[in-house]
């Protein structure tokens, strides 16, 4: 909402307060003033000139040579490029020495050999936005009414010396979508009174009912419909002051009748519509829901197909307006219009919102209906419009109002105690202070022993309950005056849940071993949605996605991590180690929320460790990734419950992928990206993992228990086992641990060999076994006995032989 400072002064006394100060006060009390703009934008010395002569420039087709009286001695010669300049016009002249917006200085000049002493200005050149300049002057200079006094300040006549406050209104403050509404707000802030416009309506002796009748078939959408007939109007421009106010508010002037309806819309917040009575095609107005498939051509010359969701104004047979949104072309006021039917109605919000949504049409009128207007002003606005049409369009107001009114006005009464106000705010505001605030708001109230019974005016539709009153008191009392305290209630210690605490440990661990935390988008495309997913479900698709790339919810974090790796690689960051903890979304059924599961995923590519001058350089490989995960499982106390199983998974290297099992249940995978996928993402050798972090963090783990520190020496024996190639180290290790029993404390692999020194199809794995008894020193014989058993076990189970 744009509020003209000069216009506002008609309704509330602003003496002693500048536009800027006013803006600050308004902002502090609840409505943000987004800007204060001086319309002239620094222009000065622009006066009204009278074009005495106009002739063709001798040397330029498109220029005119004009003799202009600017009210200072001799008329001056001005060269003008506007196509519409003509003898006898009153125009805006920037004198020599004048300044125009953009700090453009006007100098004496010679244009194609002819002297020019100033410039005849268009509105755009004076800083008016093109989109609000009246159409006849859009491509040329602005022509003032013939009574404009020569030499007068043109900027003042155009109200460009005005300042405009732009209000950023929250949806609850629709009452301030009108000058009168703003006046009430400003009056409350300043503690001054509101002066409403005086309506001088002279009706003729005819009856409106002889002209038109109204029926409303959809009273829920339209509880109040009122109309008047104004006859013998003469369509022409509206007075300059009205045009300038409209332009300052961002509305383009058209003609006196249309301008008046827009002026009332701005003044009262009541949208009006003027029909050409003779073009209505009947003597009746019927308001009803549209029929499916019914059409209307609106004022913007667009044919619109309607449905039962839309409300239309009809002439009894066909629509003449899309109610509350836009009029129909068939009944538009035109230059030859003589009789006008003015509609002032209250349409309810939902039906208007639907029309706006379906037709992508948002107008000043529909915005107000959507947010809710004050029906108490509907008829007053109608009267004022009729009066203005009589005054400025030479019309004659036909007696009476046609009206269908099913409104059941109900006063909103709120009762609240002073204690309640102070208890909620934590203040010690007095009874008198509250009374004073309510008075300034012009709320009617009765105060009895600290209890206020308040009748809320209908313009403030946002106020209905105690808390609304508390807010009014608080904002006008001033939040700066609110004390700062801390809650006094029962104090509970704050704490992370075990899950949240462990998750933080996981993050820190992964970062401490060298991974960076990534956060990627949850929305992806259909293809990526299910790639790499540990569990898949039907893709969850947005009803109205903004793009295909962000249309489906992800089921794995890996694809976007790969994108991140790829993004980095494309920017010469070759070594990437990222992890992410985030949700994946698995559909259950259409009516239920999906299963949202937290996952931990990572991507590793490039060099893992480099210390080149000492000859160390290690690229990421499967065992780097696995090592990171091993550390993670150890951190969570799960290392002995985890198992890696060779696996084949889509998009992963078939020979370099493992499923990860916790207590025998698959909870994730780690593996090398399949070369084809690697290429798709434009990556080099890359490893990924994804884990069900919920399973990891929710697994029951025993608390740490101290065990005695070894007091006796342990004995270590090494064995190198030759086995068939396909036998995996993990199985051998399990067998060794089982056979080694209590005394075997540690098994580690220190060598793996495959090659010339072994028969084809064989490999050797060397284990180091450490035996220990916490109670005593083991003898060689005891260890040998157990060790023999170990060797026997692997011989029997795997056909292993000792490597000589």
């Amino acid at each position: 909402m744009f509020v003209s400072y000069k216009w506002l002064q008609e309704y509330v006394d602003l003496t002693g307060i500048t536009a800027k100060e006013l803006a600050d006060r308004i902002t502090k009390s609840g409505i943000e003033v987004e800007s204060v703009e001086v319309l002239s934008k620094g222009a000065k010395d622009v006066v009204i000139g009278h074009v005495l002569e106009r002739e063709q420039h001798p040397n330029a087709d498109k220029l005119s040579k004009c003799l202009v009286d600017i009210g200072e001695g001799e008329p001056v010669q001005i060269i003008c490029g506007a196509p519409n300049v003509a003898k006898g016009q009153k125009v805006a002249v920037a004198k020599v020495g004048a300044v125009l917006p953009g700090n453009l200085k006007i100098k004496r000049a010679k244009l194609r050999g002819e002297e020019s002493n100033g410039m005849i200005c268009s509105l755009q050149e004076l800083g008016v936005e093109s989109k609000v300049v009246p159409k006849p002057y859009a491509d040329g200079i602005f022509v003032f009414p013939s009574d404009a006094p020569v030499g007068a300040d043109a900027l003042e006549l155009l109200n460009l010396d005005d300042e405009v406050l732009e209000l950023g209104l929250t949806p609850n403050r629709a009452d301030c979508l009108s000058m009168i509404g703003v006046a009430y707000e400003v009056a409350a802030i300043l503690g001054r009174s509101v002066k409403l416009p005086a309506i001088e309506l002279h009706e003729n002796s005819e009856s409106v009912h002889d002209y038109i009748s109204v029926r409303v078939d959809a009273p829920e959408d339209n509880p109040l419909y009122a109309g008047r007939i104004v006859k013998n109007v003469k369509i022409g421009p509206s007075p300059l002051w009205m045009q300038t106010r409209l332009m300052a508010a961002g509305i383009r002037p058209h003609n006196n009748v249309v301008d008046i309806t827009n002026y009332i819309l701005l003044e009262y917040g009541q949208p009006l519509h003027a029909f050409d009575y003779d073009r209505l095609g009947s003597n009746e107005i019927v308001v009803r829901r549209a029929k499916n498939g019914e059409t209307i051509v609106t004022l913007d010359d667009t044919k619109r197909t309607l449905t039962e969701d839309h409300l239309v104004i009809t002439n009894g047979s066909e629509p003449v307006a899309l109610a509350g949104v836009m009029g129909g072309a068939n009944s538009e006021v035109q230059d030859d219009t003589t009789t006008v039917f003015i509609e002032s109605a209250y349409f309810t919000s939902p039906v208007i919102r639907q029309a706006v949504k379906d037709h992508g049409l948002r107008s000043e009128a529909s915005t107000r209906f959507e947010k809710g207007i004050d029906p108490a002003r509907t008829k007053e606005a109608l009267d004022r419009a009729a009066a203005l049409m009589a005054e400025y369009a030479g019309g004659e107001v036909v007696g009476g109002v046609v009206e269908v009114n099913t409104l059941q006005p109900k006063d909103v009464v709120v009762t609240i105690t002073l204690d309640r106000i102070n208890n909620v705010l934590g203040t010690a505001i007095t009874k008198e202070e509250v009374a004073n605030i309510l008075t300034n708001l012009q709320f009617m109230f009765i105060e009895d022993n600290g209890t206020f019974t308040i009748t809320v005016p209908s313009r403030r539709r946002d106020i209905a309950i105690e808390e609304d009153i508390i807010e009014e008191v608080a904002r006008l009392y001033g939040y700066d005056n609110l004390p700062a305290t801390l809650p006094v209630g029962e104090a509970n210690p704050g704490k992370l849940t075990p899950y949240q605490a462990k998750r933080r440990h996981v993050r820190r661990y992964l970062e401490d071993v060298g991974l960076f935390q990534a956060i990627t988008y949850s929305l992806t495309n259909e293809e990526k949605a299910t790639m790499f997913a540990l569990e898949t479900a039907e893709p969850i698709r947005l009803a109205l996605p903004m793009s295909e790339e962000r249309s489906v919810l992800r089921q794995s974090l890996v694809p976007h991590l790969l994108e991140a790796a790829s993004y980095n690689r494309a920017r010469q960051v070759e070594n990437v180690a990222l992890y992410e903890i985030g949700s994946v979304y698995l559909a259950t059924n259409e009516h239920e929320l999906p299963n949202e599961k937290e996952r931990l995923a990572g991507v590793l590519t490039g060099v893992w460790h480099a210390h080149v001058w000492q000859g160390e350089k290690k690229a990421v490989d499967f065992y780097v990734a696995k090592g990171i995960l091993d550390g993670l499982f150890a951190l969570l106390g799960l290392e002995n419950r985890i198992e890696y199983k060779q696996a084949k998974r889509e998009h992963l290297h078939p020979g370099r992928t493992a499923d990860i099992l916790l207590d025998g249940k698959t909870i994730g995978f780690v593996g090398q990206l399949h070369p084809i996928v690697q290429k798709e993402f434009d990556l080099k050798e890359t490893y990924v993992f994804e884990l069900d972090i919920e399973a990891l963090l929710k697994a029951e783990v025993d608390d740490i228990r101290y065990t005695a520190i070894p007091r006796f020496p342990s004995i270590t024996r090494d064995i190198a086992l030759v086995v068939d190639e396909h036998i995996v180290a993990g199985d051998l290790e399990q067998a060794i641990i089982k056979a080694g029993g209590e005394l075997l404390k540690d098994v580690s692999i220190f060598d793996v060999y495959k090659g010339d020194r072994l028969p084809e199809g064989k490999k050797s794995i060397a284990f180091s076994l450490r035996y220990y008894d916490p109670e005593r020193t083991l003898t060689d014989e005891e260890v040998t006995a157990v060790h023999e058993q170990v060797i026997k076990a692997v011989e029997q189970q795997f056909g292993a032989t000792l490597r000589g």
């Binding site: 609840g30 939040y479 209630g489 704050g494 992964l510 970062e511 060298g514 935390q517 956060i519 960051v573």
Partner: protein, 344 residues
């Protein structure tokens, strides 16, 4: 003999003095104190002495031996020390060469901000509540006093999946869910961090996915002044002890009264600079007293209980705190960006 001994002592001490390494010293030892050495020889010659002379001579021999022995030992220590020093000198390295790098990753800047805020409120007795990102219209809107058709729904164009299910547009549904779980009994004291989604085109200041942290306190006698005190405490811990806050009236459907909260500019201290656009204040939070409809819908008696709620955007805080100019950085995961947040 006496002269011989004195001469031997002098000779030996000179040789010890001259010995330059442990080998030479060892040779001196063998030469003078060895079984075939001159002192042993003198001892052997003692048989020719008179019984009176013998002890005197014996003492003298021992004296000489001891003197040589001591000199040897002293020299031994000295040479050994020299030897070690020589060895160490050879072992010298260039300490300016780079050390073996230790890999280190770090938190995403948003996590950094979120954890800092979490810890701050945990310190004030809050717990952290989390909830689903795919949410029912009921919890995202209706339970927050935004019935279907409410004009304020326009403020948050949403990603719907079905008519009843959408990607949450704020973390407030977690508040509604938590209150519901409390079954009308206070106190509730939570903060809710999480991802939220809105139908915005991604640009420098908009992201269709971003994060929020909201806080909620519901109890008997919770006052708006408590909200002010709590947020002032938060602002001071987060942005510096001399920060102040101010409330500006605003509107949110789920709170009444509603305010926007500004923090005095942590860059200029409130004098006005480019960070605060000359105003001295930076808008950080939206807040207010929980709307009675919200309390009632969640099963709380709004006559008995009051509450306050507040919400903020970690992206905005991170952008202000670290001077980040484009919100898309948070979701591109460019390592050259992420690596900048690598220290305490």
């Amino acid at each position: 003999m006496k002269e011989r001994l004195q001469q031997l002592q002098q000779e030996a001490l000179e040789k010890i003095e001259q010995a330059n390494d442990l080998k030479a010293l060892s040779d001196v030892r063998v030469a003078y104190l060895g079984k075939k050495g001159p002192i042993t020889e003198v001892l052997r010659g003692m048989g020719s002495l008179s019984p009176e002379e013998r002890p005197i001579m014996g003492a003298l021999v021992n004296e000489v031996r001891e003197a040589i022995q001591m000199a040897l030992e002293a020299k031994q220590v000295k040479l050994e020390q020299e030897e070690v020093e020589k060895k160490l000198a050879k072992e010298a390295i260039d300490v300016t060469l780079p050390g073996r790098p230790i890999r280190r990753g770090n938190h995403h800047p948003l996590t950094r901000v979120i954890e800092e805020i979490e810890d701050l409120f945990i310190g004030m007795g809050y717990t952290i509540a989390e909830g689903p990102e795919v949410e029912k219209d009921y919890y995202n809107f209706e339970a927050l006093n935004l019935p279907k058709g409410h004009p304020a729904r326009d403020m948050q164009d949403s990603f719907y999946i079905t008519e009843e299910i959408l990607l949450r547009t704020h973390t407030s549904p977690v508040q509604a869910r938590t209150m519901e779980k409390h079954q009308g009994r206070g106190p509730v004291k939570i903060i809710c961090p999480g991802k939220v989604y809105r139908r915005d085109n991604d640009d420098a200041t908009h992201s269709h996915q971003f994060t929020q942290i909201e806080g909620l306190v519901v109890d008997e006698n919770v006052r708006m002044s408590d909200l002010k005190g709590t947020l002032r405490e938060f602002a001071r811990k987060m942005f510096g002890e001399d920060r102040d806050i101010r409330f500006r009236p605003s509107f949110f459907p789920f709170t009444e009264p509603s305010v926007e909260v500004d923090v005095s500019c942590f860059n200029c201290g409130g004098h006005g600079c480019n960070v605060c656009k000359g105003t001295g204040w930076i808008e950080i939070l939206g807040a207010g007293m929980v709307h009675p409809n919200v309390l009632e819908m969640a099963g709380f008696d709004s006559k008995k209980y009051t509450g306050f709620a507040f919400g903020m955007g970690p992206e905005r805080i991170a952008m202000l705190k670290y001077g980040i100019d484009d919100i898309r950085h948070f979701y591109q995961n460019d390592l050259r960006f992420l690596q900048q947040f690598d220290r305490v």
